[in-house]
């Protein structure tokens, strides 16, 4: 019954060296991705979500960045220990990535067809004709009209939405086991975003690829993800299924996120409750819980020690790192208006 873990990230620490000192971008991140599942990593800019995903692909520039400690187990193999050469065999073939800005991640001097075929020829030892056949198939799959004509065109001849489709075709061409989508729709307009999300949901059913979706848009998360990892200041503060996170969130930061977003389907009378202040500077992260400075419910302990991660049920699917879960802590009810829009 329980699906197998495809990816296990264990206590990952990543830092960057800057003129001002060491920025601890990722500070002990752990999460799993099961086969066929979509995991969303949400958080604000600078929370370490993109660094985490780039570390999985081993794409962080070294130097100034480096992996301080931790393991990234992909199919039982620790990616942090692979050489650059071995990693090349993993990238594109086993794990593929799509980026926020399709214009800068496509090669402008190569036809779209060639860019799809490149990976196929390299990783799957296909001949030129076979690769071309497969490239056409991929273009059709991602819904690009008249693929026979499009395959010989250059990226600048594609519109924004079409480019993102082409990116997805390139990423999925070698049938990777894991797809990392880093803000795949942020640069797109709403109507185009709807097209791409629709396509991604469609492909998820067809191809059974595991996906890590990195986004700041909780709407996108609610409509595409199975599980959610909430990150703040380089740490995972809450994980759970979509329903758990949206209807029964436990961390004050998650409450804050829900409360600071207006909902299109609800009346505008409801006041937004913003999270005050700004996230901590990761040059010198606070000793205790990084959210304590902005948290309405902060206790003395919060500023001294980082809380441990607590599982909320037997299955352990819903985990939260907050001192409020401690038996000695006062019972705090989440503010009603923040959770699930009151629909449950």
């Amino acid at each position: 019954m329980e699906k197998q873990n495809l990816l296990e990230v264990r206590d990952l620490h990543v830092s960057f060296k800057t003129y001002n000192g060491e920025v601890q971008a990722v500070r002990g991140v752990s999460f799993d991705v099961k086969k066929g599942e979509t995991v969303a990593i949400v958080g604000e800019s600078g929370c370490g979500k993109s660094v985490t995903s780039q570390t999985i692909m081993r794409l962080i520039p070294q130097p100034p960045g480096w992996i301080k400690s931790g393991e990234i187990l992909f199919d039982g193999q620790d990616l942090t220990k692979l050489s650059e050469k071995q990693m090349e065999a993993v990238r594109g073939k086993e794990i593929a990535m799509i980026f926020q800005d399709p214009m800068t991640s496509l090669n402008p001097t190569m036809t779209v067809g060639k860019q799809i075929m490149e990976g196929l020829i390299k990783h799957q030892n296909l001949g030129k004709d076979q690769a071309r056949e497969r490239a056409l198939e991929m273009l059709r799959l991602v819904g690009i009209p008249s693929p026979e004509r499009r395959i010989n065109q250059y990226p600048h001849q594609f519109s924004g939405g079409m480019r993102q489709r082409a990116m997805i075709a390139i990423a999925l061409a070698c049938a990777p086991k894991l797809l990392i989508a880093d803000e795949p729709t942020t640069a797109l307009d709403v109507t185009i975003q709807a097209q791409i999300l629709d396509l991604m949901n469609d492909l998820k059913e067809k191809l059974e690829t595991s996906t890590i979706l990195i986004t700041h848009d909780l709407g996108v998360v609610a409509e595409t993800a199975d599980r959610v990892v909430v990150m703040y200041a380089g740490k995972v503060i809450e994980t759970g299924t979509v329903d758990e996170i949206f209807y029964r969130p436990r961390h004050p930061y998650t409450w804050g996120l829900m409360g600071s977003m207006p909902r299109l389907d609800l009346s505008r009378e409801k006041e937004l409750t913003p999270i005050l202040g700004t996230p901590p500077d990761l040059l010198s992260p606070p000793k205790g819980c990084p959210f304590a400075g902005r948290c309405k419910y902060a206790m003395k302990i919060c500023k001294q020690q980082m809380p441990e991660t607590t599982s909320l049920q037997e299955s352990g699917s819903h985990q939260v790192a907050c001192w409020l879960e401690h038996p000695m802590a006062p019972a705090v009810e989440p503010p009603v208006e923040m959770v699930g829009g009151g629909s449950k």
Binding site: E44, I192, A194, G219, S260, M261, L272, P274, G340
Partner: protein, 337 residues
């Protein structure tokens, strides 16, 4: 056309405004074409639309960063076209703007206090100790404090910078503020801070906002009325709740249904209208109704005739052939009465 009684006085009238950019080689970008709307004193009018729909261009045309190619803009009853000298200075104080990119909207070589006091310096409103006092007061208004005055912009976070931008606009005591995507570059938790600050300032100072954004949820939250733009045209304008409850234009309908909702059950049940294709180029827009190439309800007439901008219900304007018949019938019914 019926005339609903305007609740309060009009602070801004935009009449048949066109803004075309000449790109050379006889190419003309029709960024804004025949846009007409009013803004009432004390309200927030939201303008939404996708990139390239002309919403920022109209904002910049109103505040005279661009000169309108055609049409008229009246601010407080006076046309803004030939403002000069003193009256232009007055206009510059009364109308202000908040910009999108908190990293590009503050001069990196100036201290925060010089940035905020820029309006005071230009208009000679305060000097020396008084100037300092005013800056500190403005900083406090936007939730920052005195120690921030001598720092440089790069030391601040995005949300803090955006608040500094708001303080700069407030320094000259404007009545009307154009907010051009003021929150789209900010994080979710920070967006709410800035929006709530804007709402509070509106209450306290009686400001009028033109709020330009692409995030429909936020626009609905902050605006009293919302206008929807597509490819240089205003296609629909109505009270914000009414627009979301009963959208008339097919584009508005599609746009609303495309916004993902942060509620898994609601989101998954929702019927989505997925528009085909992309927005055409504003250099060579489609004939007739500009939306017809992607419209699920397009008819033959849409390709031939530009739909009229009309008030089909009280205070609910739309430009779509689907409703022309409806309003025709109404007019006929009136005549028969």
């Amino acid at each position: 056309m019926s005339t609903a009684e305007p609740k309060v006085e009009k602070i801004l009238e935009v009449k048949q405004v066109k803004k075309h950019f000449n790109m050379g080689r006889n190419q003309v970008v029709r960024a804004v074409d025949n846009v007409t709307f009013d803004v009432y004193k004390g309200e927030t009018l939201g303008l939404v639309g996708e990139s390239g729909c002309g919403k920022s261009t109209i904002g910049r045309t109103i505040i005279r960063l661009y000169e309108a190619t055609e049409g008229e803009i009246r601010f407080k009853g006076e046309t803004t076209k030939d403002l000069k000298g003193k009256s232009l200075k007055k206009f510059n104080r009364e109308m202000q703007m908040i910009f999108q990119d908190p990293y590009a909207s503050l001069n990196p070589r100036m201290t925060v206090s010089d940035i905020i006091a820029e309006g005071l310096d230009i208009h000679g409103l305060a000097q020396g100790e008084e100037r300092r006092q005013k800056v500190v007061e403005l900083l406090k208004t936007v939730g920052l404090n005195e120690e921030h005055a001598d720092r440089f912009p790069h030391e601040f976070s995005g949300g803090q910078r955006q608040r500094i931008g708001i303080a700069r606009a407030l320094a000259v005591d404007p009545d009307f503020i154009i907010a051009d995507e003021p929150i789209s570059a900010l994080d979710v938790s920070i967006q709410a801070q800035v929006v709530n600050l804007m709402k509070r300032l509106q209450r306290e100072k009686g400001l009028t906002y033109l709020f330009i954004a692409h995030d429909l949820s936020m626009v609905k939250y902050i605006s009293d009325r919302v206008g929807v733009m597509y490819l240089g045209n205003l296609v629909e304008l109505a009270d914000s709740q009414e627009l979301y409850d009963t959208p008339l234009h097919p584009y508005t309908e599609a746009l609303l249904s495309a916004v993902p909702i942060a509620d898994p059950d609601v989101g998954k049940q929702r019927e989505r209208i997925i528009l085909k294709g992309d927005v055409p180029s504003p250099i060579d827009p489609p004939s007739g109704c500009r939306f017809r190439t992607r419209c699920p309800k397009a008819m033959d007439i849409c390709a031939q005739v530009v739909p009229k901008w009309q008030e089909v219900r009280p205070m609910h304007w739309v430009a779509c052939h689907l409703y022309e018949e409806e309003s025709l019938k109404k007019e006929q019914a009136k005549k028969e009465d």
